[in-house]
């Protein structure tokens, strides 16, 4: 009996052991592991999002550039879907059954219990006919959100567009974005995404096992309401932006206009452009693909991505640096025999001016004068004939003007331009090179490229007599009109204000004196200063360039206009610049010039490789070395021949030489 009595302890021991096993397991799943706790949260918690309205973008006068328009996303919770008339739903929202199946499968894959977007961006009309019948489609509901709408259909490149986030966007945002959200992909929409997008609202809802909402989690302690995006006042002026786009219609080119005092960009035209409304709505994908296929690359943002030799428009810089360095003064005269020759290098000048002084040299765009200044700059005594030191010194001065590097505009995709340092040439030519090797830089050709933005910025610096403000697209952010600090800082270009007089005189003459290259574009009542350029283009006809600012005293606008393949700068670029300047300063164009504006709008200058254009000036250009490919010239280090065509003094002449339309 004693023996059996002890079995009591075995039985009791077993009870204790089993209890400990239970408690041990419980300790693991309740205290040690939080896996089950998290699963419980995901069982019952659903986050419902409310979408904020995206910030509106206004022009500088607070006219609307982009606004929001309501659209309706058809949502589905696959688990709640019961049998229904599929065909009738497809008909209402305008899709076929194949697409229906695909969308439904996609939603199912995303989540059985959470709502997913079934069909995006239904119009108000579709929404109205759908909402009457929605009760017949259990599991489907409509969620409203807003899309972008552009009342004037302008400034597509500037504004950019928004698009549904990609998986990469979601990943990069570390969970901020969720599938179906929209994000700025280019332009201001992208660079000011964080200000524009606002804050999404969240409602944490509890759901029971039948997916019936049971009220908010923790009495809404963790809920937030949606906060609309900030409104942006952009620097753009709708009036001249619109005019600029019309003027560049059917042409390839750019217009950049800057308010010198503030660095605010007044016009930002990239042609060919596109209607920003194409980048909205259900057809966005198709429209985008079509634009991608455009032979003239409508999606390129030419003002910050196009590379052009500055050409003659670089000459004011030669003069200003020369004046600052003291190698010339305003009365220095050089003799122009129609070319500049050093060693075997000959740089042609299109006119034989004999002894020519600074002002006139600028007005007439004398190559010889520019080359002499360049020669003097690089052969200063302090360099001891060390051409690399001399070049680097010069390059540093030029870089101060914003060439050869990005200006840091608040727009994605800006390119640097091209301006090499001495090391590059030392490597390229071994040790034997000098100013004569790179003499074409004096006339803005050769191994130098600038974006239209950089060119306009140089004009702003000249207009300000010695500094520029970083060019930017947004005047102020939000209701408090916040201005970024960096947009108040003056960037000095290393030339004293006093030195600008003669150069500005020359630029004034270029537009306003009978011998100026852009006199055809003179505006009555406005003293515009400027410089034409005719830029060699290795791939076709020369580009027409004009840069300038106005009025001379207290300048309000600095501008760069480039029309590709349009030839002489005075023919297309200068008049376009003058119209925009006039419109901006006077709010309208003088009646006697309006027909010329209309004429300009109608011009078609598009490169069409299989069918070369025939224009009256073609012969001259060809003879002037258009055939030289730029690349070839660089490789052979041949001096460039810059051609500034003889001035067209008679403004009516333009009318006679309408280019052949394609």
């Amino acid at each position: 009996m004693d023996n059996l009595f002890n079995r009591k302890y075995i039985v009791q021991g077993l009870f204790i052991v089993v209890s400990l096993i239970l408690l041990g397991t419980l300790f693991y799943i309740q205290v040690f592991s939080d896996k089950y706790f998290l699963s419980a949260e995901s069982n019952v918690l659903r986050k419902l999002y409310t979408f904020p309205a995206r910030g509106v973008i206004l022009d500088r006068n607070e006219k609307v550039l982009v606004q929001n328009e309501p659209v309706y996303d058809l949502m589905v919770i696959p688990n709640d879907v019961k049998e229904f008339d599929t065909i009738s739903l497809c008909n209402i929202i305008g899709i076929d059954t194949a697409r229906f199946k695909k969308s439904f499968k996609k939603a199912l894959n995303q989540s059985r219990f959470q709502p997913s977007i079934f069909e995006k961006q239904l119009s108000v009309d579709i929404y109205q006919s759908l909402s009457e019948k929605l009760y017949r489609f259990p599991g489907f509901f409509v969620q409203s959100r807003t899309i972008r709408q552009y009342p004037d259909s302008i400034a597509g490149h500037f504004l950019g567009y928004i698009k549904e986030v990609s998986p990469t966007d979601i990943e990069r945002s570390e969970g901020y974005y969720r599938p179906g959200d929209y994000i700025g992909k280019t332009g201001v929409e992208k660079s000011y995404e964080t200000a524009l997008r606002g804050k999404r609202g969240v409602v944490n809802m509890l759901y029971d096992v039948h997916n019936v909402p049971k009220g908010s989690y923790a009495e809404g302690k963790f809920d937030t309401s949606a906060v609309s995006g900030e409104q942006l006042i952009s620097s753009l002026d709708i009036g001249i932006q619109k005019l600029g786009e019309e003027l560049l219609k059917n042409k390839v080119g750019s217009i950049v206009a800057i308010e010198p005092a503030t660095g605010e960009i007044l016009a930002f035209v990239s042609s060919p452009g596109y209607d920003p409304n194409l980048m909205v709505g259900r057809q966005q994908g198709n429209n985008y693909m079509n634009l991608l296929k455009d032979p003239n690359r409508a999606l390129n943002i030419r003002p910050i991505q196009g590379y052009y030799s500055p050409g003659s428009s670089f000459k004011p810089l030669d003069a200003l640096i020369g004046l600052q360095e003291g190698v010339i003064d305003e009365n220095t005269t050089f003799n122009c025999p129609g070319y500049f020759k050093v060693g075997n290098h000959v740089t042609k000048c299109e006119h034989v001016d004999g002894n020519i002084a600074l002002r006139r040299a600028l007005a007439r765009s004398c190559n010889t004068y520019a080359c002499y200044v360049f020669q003097k700059l690089l052969t200063q005594k302090k360099f001891n004939r060390n051409s690399r030191v001399a070049y680097d010194y010069w390059q540093k001065k030029v870089k101060l003007w914003g060439l050869g590097d990005t200006l840091g505009i608040d727009l994605p995709g800006e390119r640097k331009g091209r301006l090499y340092d001495g090391a590059y040439y030392s490597k390229k030519y071994s040790k034997y090179w000098g100013y004569s090797t790179v003499i074409s830089l004096a006339i803005g050709q050769g191994e130098m490229d600038a974006t239209p933005l950089q060119m306009a910025n140089i004009m702003a610096a000249i207009a300000n007599k010695g500094y520029f403000i970083k060019p930017h697209l947004v005047k102020s952010i939000g209701k408090d009109h916040v201005i970024k600090k960096e947009y108040l800082k003056k960037n000095y270009v290393g030339v004293d204000a006093a030195r600008f007089g003669p150069v500005i005189d020359g630029m004034e003459e270029a537009v306003n004196s009978p011998w100026g290259t852009a006199v055809a574009s003179r505006i009555d009542g406005i003293v515009m200063c400027g410089k034409t350029g005719t830029v060699q283009n290795p791939r076709g006809k020369n580009h027409s360039v004009f840069i300038g600012f106005a009025p001379r005293d207290n300048p309000k606008i600095a501008i760069a206009v480039i029309v590709e393949n349009a030839g002489f700068g005075g023919t297309y670029a200068a008049p376009i610049a003058s119209y925009i300047t006039e419109k901006y300063l006077k709010d309208s164009i003088a009646p006697n010039r309006r027909d010329r504006v209309e004429w300009m709008k109608k011009q078609v200058i598009l490169p069409a490789p299989p069918k070369p254009k025939v224009k009256p000036k073609a012969a001259i250009l060809d003879s002037a070395g258009k055939a030289d490919s730029l690349k070839k010239s660089i490789n052979s280090a041949e001096p460039k021949k810059t051609i500034d065509l003889p001035n067209i003094k008679n403004p009516t002449l333009i009318k006679h030489e309408q280019p052949a339309k394609q």
Binding site: F15, V18, L22, F37, A40
Partner: protein
């Protein structure tokens, strides 16, 4: 009843056990109340008798009345009438197979009209316990001869098989609990070891391929034989055991395929981790584990459990009531409840050991063992370490049949205990 008698009555009853009983019933009521999906103001009165918790309150009160009535009976009654009680429960088990109502796949209920129904398998437990106690106390103990073992096994086996036929394997398995009192009364410990070995081999048969398992068994057998090579008898049994063990592996495989039903197979596979099926059979267990796990250390608080409130755990007020405790009261709550059970079980064993009569002692062991099986299997399945076999958590799970049968089971023993000085 004379004054003196009633004094004795109150003095001798083990009030501590009754307090634990009341405590567990209270825990049950509170958690059943919490398990009712979403309390809105209209029906959240504590005494809504249309709801589960309202009914449970009636069951608890009725249970107490029933329990105290049992205490008023003569202690001799149970021993004398045990064959009749056993006979009636077996009869009910047969009747239920013929006219029973099918609830949840098991033909386990007899409808009594007026919305009441009875689950005979619950009452078979104390019927069997009484007869077993009577049988064991009738001969001078020690299970040495095969005949007595076989007879005891028959008492236990008849209801077990009848319940298996319902089919309700879970409730049937509970009858294996009677091995503990038999063990206490002299059944060889080898039976328990063999039983344990069968379970281990059963599990191993699923997890380890035969070509590895058989060599392992042979190796263990070989070592055993080698060590006992001088004791011929031991060596001989070792060889037999080894052979039987290997044969058993094959029997299990065949039985598994041919005898078990698909849902039973699935449950076993889920527990053994051979199958993942979060939407199907495994759903209950996963949701139950989630609910319990989400309680963390101190629980979410009364009526604050989201999984409980929003009905994520199926059968929560009955078989999975422990998940409510786990979610709303956390590890602390689980600790207290398991502690109460353990205290009750240990106390019942101690009470049983202080009985002078074998009948009372055996019956006490039966009560403790059955409660132990229920508690272990029910909590075990709620936390996913035991296959889902739907048996209730004693005194806590919702349901009149189970509460009353446990009450009768327990209070008969309390009556026997209060009368321990007398003779039966």
């Amino acid at each position: 009843m004379s004054n003196q008698q009633s004094n004795r009555f109150f003095f001798n009853v083990d009030w501590i056990t009754i307090l634990i009983y009341i405590a567990l019933c209270t825990v049950g009521y509170v958690n059943i109340y919490a398990s009712v999906p979403s309390h809105n103001s209209a029906d959240s009165s504590l005494f809504n008798f249309g709801s589960n918790y309202g009914k449970q309150l009636i069951y608890v009160i009725a249970g107490l009345v029933l329990g105290f009535s049992i205490l008023l009976l003569d202690a001799k009654f149970f021993s004398v009438f045990s064959p009749i009680v056993y006979g009636v429960t077996v009869l009910l088990l047969i009747i239920v197979l013929i006219v029973g109502r099918n609830v949840g796949g098991n033909q386990a209920w007899i409808s009594l009209g007026g919305g009441f129904r009875l689950q005979p398998s619950e009452f078979a437990k104390f019927g069997t316990a009484l007869l077993l106690a009577r049988y064991i106390s009738s001969f001078s103990p020690k299970f040495r001869d095969l005949k007595s073992i076989a007879f005891a096994a028959l008492i236990m086996g008849i209801p077990l098989i009848l319940i298996m036929l319902q089919p309700d394997a879970g409730s049937a398995l509970v009858f294996l609990a009677f091995m503990f009192p038999m063990y206490r009364e002299g059944l060889s410990g080898y039976f328990l070891l063999i039983f344990l070995g069968m379970i281990v081999l059963f599990v191993a048969d699923f997890l380890v391929p035969l070509q590895i398992l058989i060599p392992i068994i042979l190796a263990i057998g070989g070592i055993f034989v080698y060590q006992n090579k001088r004791k011929q008898k031991v060596m001989f049994s070792a060889i037999i055991v080894t052979i039987v063990a290997i044969a058993y592996l094959f029997v299990v495989r065949i039985a598994y395929e041919k005898i078990l039903k698909q849902h039973q197979r699935t449950r076993i596979e889920l527990i053994l981790g051979l199958k993942m099926d979060p939407k199907g059979v495994g759903y209950n267990v996963i949701q139950s584990k989630i609910a319990i796990g989400s309680g963390q250390l101190t629980g979410r608080g009364f009526l604050q459990g989201t999984q409980t409130k929003y009905g994520y755990v199926p059968a929560q007020s009955t078989d999975f009531i422990f998940s409510t405790i786990g979610e709303e009261w956390g590890f602390v709550g689980c600790f207290v409840v398991i502690g109460l059970y353990l205290f009750l079980l240990l106390r019942l064993i101690n009470l049983a050991e202080r009985q002078r009569s074998t009948f009372s002692r055996v019956y006490g062991y039966c009560v403790a063992s059955i409660l132990f099986f229920h508690v272990f299997i029910n909590i075990g399945m709620a936390i996913g370490i035991v296959p889902v076999i739907g048996i209730p958590l004693p005194f806590i799970s919702y349901g009149g049949s189970s509460l009353w049968s446990f009450t009768i089971l327990l209070f008969i023993f309390l009556k026997l205990d209060s009368n321990r000085m007398g003779f039966i």
